[in-house]
């Protein structure tokens, strides 16, 4: 082999690293998360078909966190997010609205909703739109329970309820449908994902696709998976919704975020959720 060829080979290798740009060097992959010693969580797996060529492996945000934060999620007693789940259970069994019904009047127990979190957002034929778990709860409150003042989209009560619904679905494989009637919203979400926002001109992909594992200030960028939402964030000492996280990210680009609960964020949620097809529901996950 000539010297030139050798050099060429080296620079090609460097380019390949730059192009991938992924710094998984100090991320400890291969860890195992089993919640309460019984619920096995898939923290890394093959990417869904539409991401073939983008990722070799998709990782739950859990992979990017410290040992201490990881451990908190492995036991419900140590997971502060479960405090909100408890409040959700209370609300689930409390009658609200003019019909005098509670969630339990129709759904019996939260466990009957175990399959919900893994398949939402999903197309709602009746309303002709893609619905998130939050929108489904609002639909129940306003159309079936006669609640005069339904939960705010990002209110504490709403997050508690979504956390409850996520918690009973932990371990279920995320499998949101992106085809059929949902495809339009999915395409919109995809477009938003790759659009550069704000003064910083940053798209979701520039951080979470091209640079996951690298440091952003003192923190590791994740792949931006949403399977762990609603997430207990240590910095907030509270659970945080997906749309709140989206809003925070766009704000950090110094852009003007879409509104929480807006069709744009619903579309983005659908698209981002579909990027995690194959991971498992973790909510309420613990993150920093």
């Amino acid at each position: 082999m000539t010297r030139k060829a050798l050099l060429g080979g080296t620079s090609a290798a460097i380019l390949a690293v730059l192009a991938a740009g992924v710094g998984l060097a100090d991320i400890r992959t291969g860890g195992e998360l089993v919640i309460n010693g019984e619920i096995a969580i898939v923290t890394e797996t093959e990417p869904p078909e539409h991401l073939a060529g983008v990722f070799d492996t998709i990782y739950s945000g859990w992979v990017f966190r410290t040992d201490e934060t990881r451990a908190m999620q492995a036991d419900d007693f140590d997971n502060p997010g479960m405090l909100y789940v408890e409040q959700g259970i209370e609300a689930f069994n409390t009658a609200m609205g003019t019909e005098g019904n509670s969630c339990a009047s129709c759904h019996e127990n939260p466990e009957s909703l175990a399959g919900v979190r893994a398949t939402y957002p999903q197309w709602d034929e009746e309303h002709g739109e893609v619905q998130t778990v939050e929108m489904q709860i609002l639909e129940c409150q306003t159309e079936r329970m006669g609640v005069a003042e339904p939960y705010g989209y990002d209110s504490q009560e709403m997050r508690n309820m979504v956390a409850l619904i996520a918690s009973v679905g932990r371990g279920q494989t995320v499998n949101v449908a992106m085809d059929g009637p949902a495809s339009e919203a999915w395409e919109l979400g995809r477009e938003i994902y790759y659009t550069q926002y704000g003064q910083m001109e940053l798209s979701c992909a520039q951080c979470h696709e091209n640079n996951y594992g690298n440091l952003i200030r003192a923190d590791h960028l994740s792949q931006g998976q949403v399977n762990g939402f609603p997430t207990y964030r240590l910095k907030n000492a509270n659970i945080v919704s997906i749309h709140n996280r989206f809003r925070g990210c766009i704000r950090d680009t110094r852009g003007e975020p879409y509104a929480v609960g807006s069709p744009e964020f619903v579309a983005l949620e659908l698209y981002v959720a579909s990027r995690g097809n194959g991971l498992t529901v973790e909510g309420p996950a613990v993150r920093n």
Partner: protein
Amino acid sequence: MAENVTPRVRVPRDATAGESVSVRTLISHPMESGQRRGSDGNVIPRSIINRFTCEFNGALVVDVEIHPGVSTNPYFQFDAVVNETGTFQFTWYDDDGSVYTDTADITVA
């Protein structure tokens, strides 16, 4: 008056005599430090759990003085050596005078 204050404890059900067991406790509480201001500009009054104790069959195991630096939902974990079957008695003291208690039984084989 703090709302939604619920104590929780986790203690192994059984142990062997002289074994050191891990005791975990958590109480949901806002732990308002008294140093923050609300949106109206006024100081939000301090409201914290200021003391936590654990006794085993009447003997004091730990007695903790708590100050405003401790954050929301205080969590205490400690190890205790148990020599006999008995009951852990946990007590949390709130600024507002409320006292919250919980117990956990442990059987020594």
